[in-house]
């Protein structure tokens, strides 16, 4: 039982990282109807920036600076590679972001180099006990950060002018344009937000661990998450992230009782869950069913 609770808490920590990444995907999707495969590159860029900035600025300062810089990078990508493609099929734009991802990731990985780099977070692998359950501080930290960010985002979309504009643009771009919403700046803000979220997610994913180029695979796991939650649902992204995170950790905890599945089966759990959910609900758990016209 203790073991199960511990793995669920670890899973919530991991799930919070997925939730932040998935939110980035969903925000971009809602604004532009495109899945940005560049998120892994933004995440990696954020982490690497933190590892460089943490020495002069401290952890939180470095995090803030990395978020700002990654958001700027995302803005640049949007402006340079995605904006010229407005009106073209979503798949083509998605492949462009894939190209961006490959190119940016090579540059970022070059900056990791051969040394072991750390984000020097204040938690490391320190733990505390609640009764018989041992909890790692970094998991609490990421859950709290994600909760604050999610609350802030939902408030932003609910109460600010720009948030309203973004909701309007995602509902109907032409109608929003006619009402005076600058759809171009909606695109830009969405990409910047997604870049910033990816940087935060990456930094917390790297807390207590060494940074390496393979971290981008974490961001790919956010893809089954958004499919599970529904491509256009913010709530779905958060819940989907938590569900997938918990499932992964629970499976990782008990997989030695199921050796016939092979080692590290937790890595592919999200994809298997995604396939099963899609067979039952083709638009994910919370996604809206698309109305199609010819």
């Amino acid at each position: 039982m203790v073991e199960l609770i511990e793995s669920v808490i670890r899973g919530l920590g991991r799930g919070s990282v997925y939730a932040m990444l998935a939110l980035g995907f969903v925000i971009i999707f809602k604004a532009t109807r495109v899945i940005s495969f560049a998120q892994p590159a933004f995440m990696l860029a954020g982490v690497v920036l933190v590892t460089y900035l943490v020495v002069p600025l401290g952890f939180w300062g470095a995090l803030a600076a990395a978020v700002a810089l990654t958001a700027l990078l995302a803005l640049g990508v949007e402006r340079g590679a995605v904006r010229p493609m407005v009106g073209r099929p979503a798949f083509v734009v998605a492949i462009i972001t894939l190209g961006v991802d490959i190119a940016v990731r090579v540059v970022v990985t070059a900056f990791i180099g051969k040394d072991v780099r750390f984000v020097h977070d204040p938690w490391g692998v320190k733990t505390f006990d609640v009764g018989p359950v041992t909890i790692q501080e970094r998991h609490v930290a990421v859950i709290a950060t994600a909760a604050v960010l999610v609350a802030a985002l939902f408030a932003y979309f609910r109460y600010t002018r720009m948030g309203l504009a973004m909701r309007a643009a995602s509902y109907d771009q032409e109608a929003a344009l006619a009402q005076g919403v600058s759809v171009g700046s909606v695109f830009a803000v969405s990409w910047a937000m997604a870049g910033g979220l990816a940087a935060v997610a990456g930094t917390f994913a790297a807390a207590g661990e060494a940074v390496d180029g393979l971290m981008w695979l974490i961001a790919l796991t956010a893809l089954p998450v958004i499919i599970l939650g529904g491509l256009d649902s913010l709530l779905g992204a958060v819940l989907g992230g938590l569900i997938v995170g918990v499932l992964q950790e629970v499976v990782a905890n008990y997989q030695n009782t199921m050796t016939w599945l092979g080692g590290n089966v937790s890595v592919i759990t999200p994809y298997v869950v995604m396939l099963i959910v899609l067979l039952v609900r083709p638009y994910g758990l919370f996604g809206t069913h698309e109305v199609e016209r010819v």
Binding site: I35, P84, I96, L220, P282
Partner: protein, 366 residues
């Protein structure tokens, strides 16, 4: 009808395999040149070109499902893997380290590899018929990860990650193609076989594309609901598209590793899928000749960057230094994909159309 190349007097001649004389002539010349190549080139170029031919088979297959039928598949690495391991299993040494049955004849394992991959394609198709666009892309991406896990863990069949196993053996009509014989070298024989196979597969694909099935694919790509309304059975044709494309991928997967001489489960990663998507898009989606051109282009790219490396002194040839050619190569991939999609969405085929139109209408620009 002489001197009127665009005048067709029957539907049949309009839909013919090569509907103009110049097409017939160019293809004929290319085939002759291809058959003569092994006599003129060094062996290392021949094995590279043989790889290009196999890659072209895979790209044509992906082009059928993505370019013609408009169903995005990022999961082709999985079907490549199925093909590679089916063929390796059938032709492997029964007493070896990894599983094998010892049927070394290529005429046996090549169709088998395609058919097993086709079977998996049909299994995946129910998902494809329910999903569209990006949902489908991500689901097929999931397939790659699941496949990689199975290939990596099934040690008896695949040898396991980082270890690998020998691929299928190249025996055709009892002849061993993988060794240098008295009259021809290994690479010469390899190139001939792969080139002929490419011809067969390309002609088959071209024929599929100009048949009823191909027109149904195009209708689905252009607007699936409209296609459904005019009577195209969406579920059936999407399944057919996936099946054919998986068959091509299975065959290409089986052949690809016979050239390298080694199969490792790590090869069937997302990167492989992205490479083939890049071939189709850079070559020109929805054309057979474009897929072939794209496959040659992408496969020759690493060699090209290595050849021009001496011209760029700031780029190192060592993997341990930081602007090195491997990084340049990866960046070039990304930049080429972005560049082609933004500036020439029809790919290499589109560039050719531009050149052709220029000369056709010369001296006028329209």
């Amino acid at each position: 009808m002489r001197g009127r190349p665009l005048l067709y007097t029957s539907y049949g001649s309009d839909m013919a395999l090569f509907n103009t004389t110049s097409k017939k002539a160019t293809v004929g010349l290319l085939v002759l040149a291809g058959l003569a190549l092994p006599m003129m080139l060094e062996d290392r170029w021949l094995s590279l070109l043989a790889t290009c031919c196999v890659a072209a088979i895979g790209a044509i297959g992906l082009g059928l499902v993505t370019g013609y039928a408009g169903q995005v598949s990022l999961g082709h690495a999985f079907f490549f893997g199925i093909g590679a391991y089916t063929s390796a299993f059938l032709s492997g040494d029964p007493n070896g380290r990894t599983m094998g049955l010892g049927y070394t004849e290529m005429l046996l394992w090549l169709p088998a590899a395609g058919l097993v991959a086709l079977l998996f394609g049909v299994l995946v198709a129910p998902l494809a018929t329910r999903l569209r666009g990006l949902y489908l892309a991500i689901v097929t991406l999931g397939l790659v990860f699941i496949g990689q896990h199975i290939f990596g863990e099934w040690h008896d069949l695949t040898g396991g990650t980082g270890v690998g196993r020998p691929p299928a053996t190249l025996h055709l009509f009892g002849q061993d193609l993988a060794t240098t014989g008295p009259s021809f070298t290994r690479d010469q024989k390899l190139f001939w076989v792969m080139f002929v196979l490419l011809l067969i597969f390309a002609l088959a694909a071209r024929n599929i594309a100009r048949s009823k099935v191909g027109r149904a694919f195009n209708a689905i790509r252009d607007r699936d609901i409209a296609a459904g309304i005019i009577g195209v059975n969406l579920a059936r044709y999407k399944t057919v598209a996936f099946a054919i494309s998986s068959f091509y991928a299975g065959c290409a997967g089986a052949l690809l590793f016979t050239i390298v001489g080694f199969v490792e489960p790590g090869s069937f990663s997302l990167l492989l899928s992205v490479q083939y998507i890049a071939m189709v898009l850079i070559g020109g989606a929805g054309t057979i000749s474009g897929a072939i051109a794209g496959a040659f282009f992408i496969t020759l790219l690493p060699t090209f960057t290595r050849e021009v490396q001496p011209l760029m002194p700031f780029v190192s040839a060592e993997a341990s230094q930081t602007p090195n050619i491997f990084q340049m190569e990866a960046i070039l991939y990304g930049v080429l994909i972005i560049g082609f999609l933004i500036f020439e969405p029809r790919g290499l085929f589109g560039l050719w159309i531009r050149v052709r139109t220029y000369w056709k209408t010369w001296p006028f620009s329209y």
